[in-house]
């Protein structure tokens, strides 16, 4: 696993259009964006705005009807499955595992794309797994069953699997949605550590604006399948933009020495105030 230098990767989407059925409206409509390498990016937006769809399209889990995704200038559609999985890892919102699967065995599955058909585990595999366990703080749980862990520990174990995969870019679909507050911090702190220590590019979908403000370097706000605003949290999280994206009136506070931004929802916008 090599730390990703900030210039090595560039993942960009060009005019992406996605829909689930031919006669339905587009879930993503001409979305173009560039994921900043070595940073944490967060997709925000109301339900049905296309956040998860965009995430899955960028990770080639969905095929765009038109437009393309480029990784270091190469069309993502051209990658072989294993080759792609070495570059891009994605964690879905809900994950299933056999009840007796241990954390360690789960994390070893992350090495799947690095092994040829009949190749045994190599020293590099063991190293990557040990490192992933250590960095995510689940090393002490390696013998435990994933199904017996708390929701936060379970999520961290899945992140460890993703990390053992050693991709350039980590995608996470709402990694904190089912977690209580303390566990949300555990997972987000872990992701931040990976980003700061390894220069790992991370892209995630989050519902909680304050979590996004606290951890993300760059926000992408979506509404109705279109990108509405892009930029650092301080630029995107303004009452005007939030109203435009969510139809909600907020008070925005800046607090603390780090200049953390907080959004306090006040009420739903009146119909006339909404742009759409």
């Amino acid at each position: 696993m090599t730390p990703t230098p900030s210039t090595a990767t560039g993942l960009t989407g060009e005019r992406l259009c996605v829909r689930y059925h031919a006669r339905q409206p587009f879930v993503l409509n001409e979305v173009s964006l560039a994921i900043p390498p070595g940073k944490i990016s967060a997709f925000i937006g109301p339900n049905g705005s296309g956040k998860s769809t965009l995430l899955k399209t960028l990770a080639r889990q969905l095929k765009p009807e038109s437009g393309r995704v480029l990784l270091d200038g190469a069309d993502l559609a051209q990658f072989a499955p294993r080759q792609l999985a070495q570059r891009i890892g994605i964690l879905f919102q809900e994950n299933i595992a056999p009840g007796d699967l241990t954390v360690e065995r789960l994390v070893y599955h992350g090495r799947y794309p690095h092994r040829k058909l009949f190749e045994p585990l190599t020293a590099e595999d063991h190293e990557a797994v040990a490192k992933a366990l250590r960095l995510t703080g689940v090393a002490a749980l390696r013998e435990r069953r994933v199904s017996h862990l708390s929701s936060g520990q379970r999520q961290l174990s899945w992140v460890a699997m993703l990390l053992a995969q050693a991709p350039d870019c980590l995608f996470l679909d709402e990694p904190t949605t089912f977690l209580d507050l303390a566990h949300q911090f555990d997972v987000m702190d872990c992701l931040q550590r990976l980003n700061r220590q390894l220069g790992q590019t991370i892209v995630l979908v989050v519902h909680d604006l304050n979590l996004a403000a606290r951890y993300a370097d760059r926000l992408f706000a979506l509404r109705d399948g279109r990108l509405v605003a892009t930029g650092p949290p301080a630029e995107v999280l303004t009452p005007e933009t939030i109203r435009r994206v969510f139809d909600v009136e907020t008070r925005v506070l800046d607090d603390g020495p780090q200049g953390l931004r907080f959004c306090l929802p006040v009420k739903k916008s009146a119909a006339g105030e909404s742009p759409s």
Binding site: P81, R82, A85, N95, P98, L121
Partner: protein, 365 residues
């Protein structure tokens, strides 16, 4: 492949238990029958130097007269009656049972992983019935047992599996839909099998076919050993080599795909292996039900869901179950032999009942 230090003991115990059961069942099978011997003389026959010290005899038994003749091996010396019965009749039957047990257990484990469904088995997915129908049709037209039978069975089993998937598919499948579709296809194939009986002119053929559709090892000999052994070997190698891929499939299609697996291709290949294993066992033993359901389930409960251990356990537990069930089938109602499929069917029914009573939601793996 994976370092699983903590839990090696259960697999060891399972193998030891299965081997003991297999040894007892084999000894009973070798001793008992119309020609009764003591355990000691059965063992003496098994280790008869007249067999072991004459490579010609061994080749003749294992590879068949034709090859022995082609290689210019001398004719066998006359053997003792006990040796003759043990080596010509009882031992090959045990061996066929052993190989069929391996095939069905492997096949069941693979189908269960591929469909992520603990109710899946070659019998319930209609694969066995499809294979059986194909064989019956061929036998009616061309009534010679030959080495082509496993291939015919594979075509039939593969066709049935595709049909089941087509019927069950509706934006993906669920365990219950798959089993229902399997029941539909098995019912149709079963009716057609019965229809074949009425069309067949030779009453002998009908009688044989009837015993065969319930799954029987009666009359299984060295010819059947030769027919199934290569496929068993291939199934073992392929499925053990695929164990890591089966493990990843259990994480669900999206995760498997995200990890770089070509999920459809892998599933196709793995299902093909399972069909090969099940169909070749149908070709020699007919429709022996439920072994492919029970064995993987029991082994999984003991050694866990990691496939290298699960499949290894199945290699021992499958034969143990099948050979002991066949001992019961052959000896319980002496002198009448019932097909082994009746014994496994009764066991399987009870086992299904247990699954239903114990679980709130059955099926999902």
């Amino acid at each position: 492949m994976l370092p699983a230090k903590s839990s090696h003991r259960p697999l060891g115990w399972l193998i030891a238990g299965a081997l003991s059961l297999l040894a007892v069942a084999t000894l009973v099978q070798l001793m008992a029958g119309a020609y009764e011997t003591t355990g000691r003389s059965a063992l003496a026959a098994l280790t008869d130097p007249q067999v072991w010290q004459h490579p010609g005899v061994l080749v003749r038994l294992f590879l068949g007269d034709k090859l022995a003749h082609a290689w210019g091996l001398p004719e066998a010396n006359p053997l003792d009656t006990a040796t003759l019965i043990v080596w010509n009749i009882r031992l090959p039957r045990v061996l066929v049972g052993l190989l069929v047990g391996i095939n069905l257990a492997l096949s069941g484990s693979i189908f269960q992983a591929v469909t992520r469904n603990e109710l899946a088995s070659p019998y319930l997915l209609g694969v066995s019935s499809g294979a059986g129908l194909a064989i019956l049709l061929v036998l009616v037209v061309y009534p010679v047992l030959g080495p082509h039978l496993p291939l015919v069975a594979m075509l039939g089993g593969g066709g049935a599996f595709l049909l089941v998937y087509l019927i069950a598919w509706h934006h993906g499948t669920s365990p219950v839909r798959l089993v229902l579709a399997g029941v539909i296809v098995a019912a149709i194939a079963g009716s057609l099998q019965t229809a074949v009986f009425f069309l067949a002119k030779d009453i002998n053929l009908v009688q044989n076919a009837l015993a065969w559709t319930t799954g029987s090892l009666t009359g299984a000999g060295w010819e059947q050993v030769r027919m199934i052994a290569p496929w068993t070997f291939l199934s073992c190698v392929l499925s053990l080599a695929a164990s890591r891929h089966l493990d990843v499939l259990l994480l669900g299609d999206p995760t498997a795909r995200a990890l770089g697996m070509s999920v459809e291709r892998a599933r196709f290949f793995l299902a093909g292996t399972a069909i090969m294993a099940a169909a070749s066992s149908v070709a020699v033993a007919g429709l022996v039900g439920f072994v492919g359901l029970i064995v993987p389930h029991v082994v999984r409960n003991v050694v866990g869901s990691a496939h290298r251990r699960l499949l290894t356990g199945c290699l021992f537990a499958g034969p143990a179950l099948l050979v002991s069930a066949d001992a019961v089938a052959r000896l319980l109602f002496r002198p009448v032999q019932v097909p082994v499929g009746i014994v496994t069917g009764v066991l399987g029914g009870l086992f299904f009942l247990y699954l239903m009573r114990r679980r709130q939601e059955i099926g999902k793996l």
